[in-house]
């Protein structure tokens, strides 16, 4: 083995270890952050859940509401999944210091054929992904598509979206540089559908040394790009490529209109209604129940998984009747705020060792009262989400906190509650009026 090979193996191992340690720490952190949430009701009906995951996450079932965009997204997605096959050989080459170890070690015609077919497929998919990426960049930066231009997308979220797209271009370019230079070095081998044609004609005039160098730049560029992507993922909105799977699996199966009954309230009412407990002295050791959600720890882990699964596409906000008519509420912002607040709280706990920083998700800094009040509970956001995120569930929990913990309610709603509590009606009519509709 030549010294240059040994250096490359060591560099590869170092890079891999570094990438895995750095990203691993961050992924463990995300798991811990999600675990800050309360327990979630159990997940019955596993078969339906697997089906949902296959149809909606793997099969992108809900993307097809908008066919052209769904096809563009599908190109990037399939290319991403399929390229992982090539990554196997890149890894094997990196660890052993070899060149196309699979291709060179199995010398049978059927395997060579299969190999060429796979790499050619990856090339075609990569080209489609590249085209799609340019469309996406144009849609995001040149066209004025409302959901990409909302207030919550200003600054980092907009840059983040572009960084991912630019990175996609780097990754694809490196793959083509690697294959193209290799094909120019071995014009009679491989037969890759794009590189074996374009490589020799575009790069054929370069010297053998230059081509070797270009191949290495492509190879190292691609694998480094993959590692950078792996580390960048948990800092970006792009985690949905992983979390869409658990998120669709654990999404609630009941009708969208079914908002769960708050168990702590049911218990309180039971105690009130039971003559044995209603007048008994309160148990001083009993935990005082809290109602609704004010901060991260009050939400369930599924709400928090939802927040990390959000890729900020804005299909929810695009369908939200409150947002469409100019109100401050944006379901996407609720999810982004939940994630940002979760990160802030986790960082505070880590640095200070204390439980709570005195801030909360339900606040002017994050989700404000005005935003929460504008929701019509119409479920358009829930229906629109391609990865089954439920912003409404978080909104309802925070509305509960406003009313039940903070007594923060508009006057008109107080009148409504009084009516329901005192006249058993949504308006203050006497029960004796209930049959007036029969009179003419």
């Amino acid at each position: 083995m030549e010294p240059i090979q040994i250096i490359q193996i060591l560099a590869f191992l170092l890079l891999t270890t570094l990438a895995l340690v750095v990203s691993g720490k961050k992924y463990v952190g995300i798991y811990r952050n999600i675990s800050m949430g309360k327990s979630e009701e159990s997940a019955p009906n596993r078969i339906l859940r697997w089906k949902n995951m296959l149809r909606i996450a793997l099969g992108q079932g809900k993307m097809f509401a908008n066919l052209p965009v769904a096809i563009l997204h599908l190109c990037v997605y399939v290319a991403f999944v399929f390229t992982q096959i090539e990554l196997i050989e890149i890894f094997a080459d990196g660890i052993t210091g070899s060149h196309r170890i699979l291709y060179n070690s199995i010398q049978s015609s059927w395997f060579t054929g299969l190999y060429t077919a796979i790499i050619s497929t990856i090339e075609v998919l990569s080209l489609l992904a590249l085209i799609a990426t340019f469309f996406f960049l144009a849609r995001r930066n040149m066209l004025s598509i409302p959901r990409f231009r909302k207030a919550e997308m200003e600054g980092w979220p907009h840059r983040d979206a572009n960084i991912i797209l630019y990175w996609e271009i780097v990754l694809v370019t490196c793959i083509f540089l690697m294959n193209g230079a290799d094909a120019a070095l071995h014009p009679d081998e491989y037969g890759f559908v794009i590189s074996s044609n374009l490589g020799p004609s575009l790069l054929g005039s370069f010297s053998e040394n230059t081509l070797h160098l270009l191949e290495r730049i492509g190879w190292w560029g691609h694998i480094t790009g993959v590692f950078v992507f792996l580390i960048y993922l948990p800092y970006s909105k792009h985690l949905h490529i992983l979390l869409a799977f658990p998120n669709t699996f654990y999404a609630r199966q009941r009708p969208a209109g079914h908002i769960e009954n708050l168990e702590s309230v049911t218990q309180e009412i039971k105690l009130m209604m039971n003559p044995d407990t209603a007048f008994a002295a309160a148990d001083p050791s009993a935990e005082i129940p809290t109602f609704g959600a004010k901060d991260i720890g009050d939400l369930t882990w599924k709400n928090l998984l939802d927040a990390y699964s959000c890729t900020e596409c804005g299909r929810c906000t695009d369908q939200c009747p409150a947002n469409l008519t100019g109100k401050k509420l944006s379901p996407r912002k609720v999810m982004m705020d939940t994630r940002d607040r979760m990160e802030e709280l986790a960082a505070f706990r880590k640095s200070s060792g204390e439980e709570h920083d005195g801030k909360s998700l339900l606040s002017e800094e994050y989700v404000s009262v005005e935003e929460l009040r504008a929701c019509t509970t119409c479920n358009a956001c829930v229906e629109a989400c391609p990865v089954m995120i439920n912003p409404l569930d978080i909104i309802i929990q925070m509305r509960r906190n406003l009313i039940l913990e903070q007594s923060n309610s508009p006057e008109e709603w107080n009148a409504l509650f009084n009516s329901i509590e005192n006249s058993n009606a949504a308006w203050a009519f006497p029960a004796s009026d209930r049959l007036k509709w029969t009179e003419n």
């Binding site: 109602f291 469409l324 949504a426 308006w427």
Partner: protein, 268 residues
């Protein structure tokens, strides 16, 4: 003419059983426009000889607006009282003309001890038509009219019922035109989530104003709806578009009753 509708208390006292309870809801009981829907549906039930009763003075708010506003306590107290009454009468089947009552009775009452077979009146009407019990002998009153259908959130997205009301409308002699946002993408009327009971948050326009533009674009003569709250909002939208007299908002029950010839309808 007054409608002769029995309460479940009366029928129980007379020793008679009831097949289905008609849950009228607060809007259907107290709102003048919604009362007409209640009457239309009761007339259909009577005409089809359905053995039904109402709770009358014993009915209480289901607690839906309280729950959606965040007041789980007021909701569960209301539910508790209603469930005691419903279970006391041994009610098994419920039909209601309000999708909010339908949703909460069907989905959220079981967890508090109130399990019933709950259907919304659009599904009930579809079944009556399929069984041949509703005959639309006078459907030609709709001849040549364009009709559009507004999906309420609580029947549509909340419970996945998009086809039953459309199948009912298909029985009328009309042309059904869909709005830009329909079915699972249907645009809310703006009343849900207890918005009906308070002023809007600051914004560019009201939600029903936006919806009314979609309604106006269909150039329909009739907007069919299935929810008393939507109907309030949509009628308001019609007047915002200055389409009074040209575009009429009706509940499906009113259209069916007119098609049966048991209730007059004013389309002018």
């Amino acid at each position: 003419m007054d409608l002769q509708v029995k309460t479940i208390a009366q029928l129980t006292a007379e020793g008679q059983s009831v097949d289905v309870l008609f849950w009228v809801g607060c809007a259907g009981s107290f709102d003048d426009r919604a009362k007409k829907i209640t009457r239309a549906f009761a007339k259909i039930l009577q005409h089809c000889e359905v053995n039904f009763a109402v709770l009358g003075t014993e009915e209480g708010c289901t607690g839906d607006p309280a729950k959606r506003a965040g007041n789980e306590f007021a909701f569960q107290m209301a539910a508790h009282m209603n469930i005691e009454i419903l279970n006391g009468y041994g009610v098994k089947n419920i039909v209601t003309t309000c999708p909010h009552c339908f949703n909460i009775l069907k989905n959220e009452y079981p967890g508090l001890g109130g399990s019933y077979d709950v259907v919304h009146h659009t599904t009930f009407l579809q079944n009556l038509i399929n069984e041949g019990r509703v005959k639309l002998t006078d459907a030609d009153v709709f001849k040549g009219r364009r009709i559009t259908y507004h999906d309420s959130c609580y029947l549509g997205r909340a419970n996945g019922i998009y086809e039953a009301p459309r199948e009912v409308l298909a029985q009328l002699d009309t042309e059904l035109v869909e709005m830009k946002s329909c079915k699972s993408k249907g645009l809310c009327c703006g009343a849900g989530g207890a918005q009906m009971w308070k002023e809007d948050e600051p914004g560019k326009e009201r939600i029903n104003t936006r919806r009314s533009r979609e309604m106006a674009d269909t150039k329909a003569d009739i907007v069919a709806a299935n929810c008393p709250f939507c109907i309030t909002m949509l009628r308001d939208g019609v007047s915002k578009q200055n389409l009074e007299g040209e575009m009429h908002v009706f509940d499906l029950a009113e259209l069916v009753a007119a098609g049966q010839g048991i209730q007059d309808i004013n389309l002018d």
